[in-house]
Symmetry: C2
Subunit: 359 residues, 2 copies
């Protein structure tokens, strides 16, 4: 009644912050007395109670049941994350840990992401998530055909992002030679480099076939494979680490809730969508039912895209109870993503292997 529904008074903010902090810490509802004890407030518990009642009316707090303390609502958490949070400063120790562990894994982006998600999980004590988002428009890069046996060769394709994919191929008639494969390589590179998968047309294929002369029988198979390689497999990927940590938190001791959450993680789709759709390069905090993902009602997902040259290569994230230690999680993800960027940019050998190979 003091504040006319608009902004929160300083005291309200202080009380809200105290409640969120305390609830993150302990997971229990917070009462007026407790707030008073741990905060520097020049008023009595009764006043705090009044304030709390108002905060509840405004939607920032809620009461699990009539005679219990207050718990932050979704809106409360949102406000907390957006304006109240004090950024957690990582200790030099933690920074060193990140550096050491990530450096050891440098090489494949996949491995880096996975390692980062593991780290995120163990540092924050929530569940870590490593994500390779869906990508939709890759251009064809370079090809190379590798001879193995007279009827058996490997086609290696590099896309415009430098991802390497490969496929074994066999011919019906054993006509392969190193020479014919070299020709194949040359012709493919001449005609296909720079195109998108959709730009491979029948006339183009026929032109290629014509140019291959006596080895034209190879072309049909090859094109199909190329199409497959560039198009189909990249539906994104997601790896989870530290699910066991969820169990520490009493909010997941309800088996049915936990089961639902695990089911969502299992499907991967929802979360993958969520992350793939995010346009922001910054850290996103998705609290409970803010997202389309219904199940995560008392959970929160924090993730940070890993961007290079304007392209989103992946994301690392953390999943945990709604009362997550946001300050620490944000700092950790920030730190990790910084390090990943460093590694990706600075290193000589980067992004090896096939980023999609493991899917």
């Amino acid at each position: 009644m003091s504040s006319e529904k608009r902004a929160l008074t300083e005291r309200k903010k202080q009380i809200l912050k105290a409640i969120v902090d305390a609830h993150i810490e302990g997971g229990e509802p917070i009462g007026s007395k407790y707030v008073l004890k741990n905060q520097q407030l020049n008023c009595s518990s009764a006043t705090v109670r009044n304030e709390m009642a108002e905060l509840e009316e405004m939607g920032y707090l809620e009461q699990p049941h009539a005679s219990a303390g207050r718990v932050p609502s979704e809106l409360g958490y949102r406000f907390y994350v957006d304006s109240l949070i004090e950024r957690y400063a990582m200790t030099t120790n933690e920074i060193a840990q990140i550096n050491a562990l990530l450096k050891a894994k440098m090489g494949e982006l996949d491995q880096i992401l996975l390692a980062a998600s593991n780290l995120a999980s163990s540092m924050t004590n929530y569940t870590g998530i490593a994500i390779k988002p869906r990508v939709n428009s890759v251009l064809i890069g370079t090809f190379e055909a590798i001879y193995l046996e007279p009827d058996h060769y490997i086609l290696v394709a590099v896309d415009s992002d430098g991802n390497v994919k490969s496929k074994h191929l066999r011919t019906d008639a054993p006509i392969l030679t190193q020479v014919s494969l070299a020709k194949l390589t040359r012709v493919l590179n001449t005609h296909l480099t720079g195109l998108s998968a959709e730009q491979i047309t029948l006339p183009l294929m026929m032109k290629i076939e014509a140019e291959m002369g006596s080895d034209s029988s190879l072309v049909n198979d090859v094109i199909k494979v190329i199409y497959d390689l560039l198009n189909e497999p990249d539906n994104g990927e997601m790896r989870i680490s530290g699910i066991d940590r969820l169990l520490q938190y009493p909010e997941y001791s309800d088996v049915s809730q936990l089961q639902e959450l695990l089911g969502t993680l299992e499907k991967k789709e929802d979360i993958l969508n969520l992350v793939s759709q995010s346009e922001n390069e910054d850290i996103s905090v998705v609290i409970g039912s803010e997202s389309q993902v219904k199940v995560m009602n008392n959970s929160a997902l924090v993730f940070k895209p890993i961007v290079k040259d304007g392209k989103t290569l992946g994301a690392i994230g953390v999943l945990g109870p709604r009362r997550m230690d946001y300050a620490k999680v944000l700092a950790t993800l920030e730190g990790l993503s910084g390090n990943i960027s460093n590694i990706i940019h600075a290193n000589k050998q980067l992004n090896g292997g096939e980023p999609d190979g493991g899917k």
Copy 2:
């Protein structure tokens, strides 16, 4: 006392089987009356009780507490799996399901395994596991260096099993040309093909360097990468699907137990060891603490290696409570592995991509 500790009488077998079956079904301890009801036995519950007491003495049954029914012991399950089990016959419907779903995924072994583990999970309603075991002795196969930019190229290496691995490389001095890379390719293939990683010696490296002439500066980097590629990354991989299913079973409603189990799954090491060490091509059933993996006390792991040309390419398995429906699980894994073998053998494009890319 009737049987002198050696073999089980027919009646004892019948009773044991009845108890295991019933316990698999319901998860509760089984009493003498229940056995009598559901079995064709010409005796009274008292007799059954006597028999059960003897079976307990022999170690096949145990009592959760003094006045409860009996539950099969580890030994009991072992005996059941080894001799009592009636193989479950898959319905044609189920067989068709396997075929359809696996065919759609043909291509990468990784993908097949993953799909198979998903299938195994959904068909048995336990947790599915897809495993790529550690491999220890790979020989170097073919190389190919792909030119990208004056200071940037990709090295593609194929090992003797046909696995393709790749790595991006950059040079300090931009001296790369298509020609120099072709030379590199040729020299590497000449000297390294057929060797194991351990056989790359310093003299050999120097010889290669000499042969590369003006481009010898590439050699050092390349060799290091080769070593990495062939050696380090292959610590096996393991993917889990359907963890949420575990929660259906009351044995995992104890949070601490569940947490331990998830922790073991998380580490992956133990299970990977277990599977990698198995020399058998047949289905293995690991019940509870039979294995070194301590945690799985009330769980069982059933897995079947996927073998091609005498080489173990991977394994699919199922993890669930000790009172698992072994008949169904065995049949499912048998069926799946059969189909995988078919696909792997019959198909022209096989085992593409990097089997280890996703690690």
